[in-house]
């Protein structure tokens, strides 16, 4: 069993962090193989950012497959760019605050929606949108147990304990949305 995930969005949306948290949780708490592969433009700020996470019971070939099983898009341009790579019957996770479901011209894929930009703003910190989306993804796919992912986030945020309650709330809200759309 091998899962190829692509996470794409603007620079600054925490796309890389989302992917790294998932890969870290897989490394720390399972026997599975996992790879994380970032892809940046040459720009330091404001460009597009995307990363690839492969989780597998067997050996992993490319850390960036030709065809994605799952795709998380955080903004419109990423939908245009990466939707064609999603396999038939694959799952698309969209940031429905700024990505319009009507633009998803693929009737053959399952769409999971979460308005993570608005939710994060409502929670008072625009930055937690990626943690909400990670919750959505893990809640829906259960590719790694949610408690394992949370302990990884907790560990990574260890130096900023003030941020923990907010992130915990964000992650749990995401889980709820993910589970509810199964």
């Amino acid at each position: 069993m091998e899962t190829n995930l692509c996470v794409a969005g603007f620079g600054g949306q925490g796309v890389m962090t989302l992917g790294k948290f998932l890969a870290q949780a897989t490394c720390d708490s399972t026997d599975k193989n996992v790879t994380f592969f970032p892809s940046y433009g040459a720009e330091q700020r404001g460009g597009t950012a995307n990363c690839f996470v492969v989780i597998s019971d067997g050996m992993i070939g490319a850390p960036l497959g030709d065809v994605m099983d799952d795709l998380i898009v955080m903004n419109g341009p990423s939908l245009v760019k990466f939707l064609p790579t999603l396999k038939q019957g694959g799952t698309l996770f969209i940031n429905s605050s700024i990505v319009d479901e009507k633009d998803v011209n693929r009737p053959d894929v399952k769409v999971v929606k979460a308005p993570v930009t608005e939710m994060a703003l409502d929670m008072g910190n625009a930055k937690v949108l990626n943690v909400i989306m990670l919750g959505v993804y893990v809640g829906y796919t259960e590719v790694v147990p949610p408690d394992v992912v949370w302990s990884t986030i907790e560990h990574k945020l260890g130096s900023k304990p003030k941020l923990l309650p907010l992130n915990k709330q964000a992650f749990e809200k995401g889980l709820e949305i993910g589970r509810s759309q199964k």
Binding site: K20, A23, Q24, C27, D28, N33, V34, T35, F36, F37, P38, A42, G58, M59, I60, G61, A62, P63, L64, G65, D66, V67
Partner: protein, 359 residues
């Protein structure tokens, strides 16, 4: 043993520190910046020294100096920067100074592309500088292997008093993967390594004309120059015992994929997919790309093999010339290539395999 999720570049740097590397000099270039950045944080913690050189040229020469004083030392860069280092590498080879360096290769020629590629094969294996010297060139295809080979590289370098190149690519350098890290050499072990070099290292000697340190990347005397080259040639010939290669399901293979580095792991996953479908496909993966494991190609059953598929992220193909020397005309060789910054497509390799099988 505990697994740690590490980026290839950082894993290479940590492996070097654990192997006793206590001096690193480098210069920024994408996609290897995490190596100097990691050393800049890490070396002061273990009593080592990091210097950001004013150029790749300066950096490799700082490493030449530090290694000539007996310290395990390393530099790294990416393709255009490696070209700049070729002067210092050639001097280290000529003066028989043990250094380790890593090429996290990117597109080329020229400034090329910052994305991963395997365009530096000839440079790495045939001529990393002037003068026809040779090096062990180690090509990892996973982050774990990058760790293991970097760790071993320091032992090879010291054993031979010769540079060792870790030839990775931008994918291995930038991807994260779980690794098990090798043991940290103790301060006592590191001191013993340094002490073992005291006889030839330039740190000062008691007045004794015959036994001062005299590190020379060249000779005025033509007879001695030839003798030095003959000694080096004998060393290079001795490396046949150090050849490392992965031969995967080649005995009955109708198609054998030949690939190194990132392309090899993609090739291996293709072998698994094909075997699950009943297709007889195998893989030869040179781990030492120099010296090259030509003999592995003698293990192919040319009675059933329809072709060898050379898979590399280089246009024009380069590895294929060594594959050709291994195959010796016993079956056709096809290529599956990409370049320009995109990673090799598994689908493309599968198609190329099917095309050979269909013949």
């Amino acid at each position: 043993m505990a697994r740690t999720l590490m980026k290839g570049c950082e894993a290479i740097a940590e492996a070097a520190v654990r192997a006793g590397c206590r001096f690193f000099a480098g210069y920024p270039i994408t996609p290897q910046n995490e190596i100097p950045e990691y050393f800049a944080r890490r070396l002061p913690e273990v009593g080592g020294t990091f210097v950001q050189g004013e150029s790749e040229v300066a950096s490799v020469n700082m490493v030449y100096g530090a290694a000539a004083a007996g310290t395990r030392s390393m530099t790294s860069s990416s393709s255009p920067g490696i070209a700049l280092k070729s002067e210092g590498i050639s001097y280290c080879a000529a003066a028989r100074i043990p250094i380790v360096y890593a090429n996290i290769s990117r597109g080329g020629p020229g400034v090329g592309a910052i994305q991963p590629a395997q365009q530096d094969y000839f440079q790495a294996t045939k001529a990393s500088g002037n003068g026809g010297f040779e090096m062990l060139v180690l090509a990892p295809s996973t982050v774990q292997e990058a760790v293991d080979l970097t760790y071993a590289a320091f032992d090879y370098a010291d054993r031979d008093r010769n540079p060792v190149l870790v030839l990775a690519d931008g994918v291995i350098g930038t991807m994260m993967e779980p690794v098990e890290l090798p043991p940290m050499k103790t301060d006592e072990e590191i001191a013993a390594i340094k002490a073992s070099k005291k006889a030839w290292a330039c740190t000062g000697h008691k007045l004794d004309y015959a036994n001062r340190a005299w590190i020379q990347p060249g000779q005025w005397n033509t007879v001695i120059m030839q003798q030095e080259n003959e000694k080096a040639a004998a060393l290079y010939a001795s490396w046949q015992k150090d050849i490392q290669v992965e031969e995967y399901m080649i005995e009955d293979a109708e198609v054998v994929i030949a690939a190194y580095g990132i392309c090899a792991r993609i090739g291996k996953s293709v072998v698994d997919i094909c075997r699950a479908q009943g297709k007889k496909v195998g893989l030869i993966r040179p781990i030492t790309v120099h010296p090259f494991p030509y003999a592995s190609f003698d293990k192919i059953d040319y009675g059933v093999c329809k072709g060898v598929l050379d898979v590399e992220m280089s246009i024009p193909a380069q590895l294929v010339q060594d594959v050709d020397l291994g195959v010796k005309g016993r079956c056709p060789i096809e290529t599956c290539l990409c370049s320009g910054g995109n990673i090799m497509s598994r689908e493309a390799v599968l198609e190329a395999v099917d095309a050979i099988l269909a013949k």
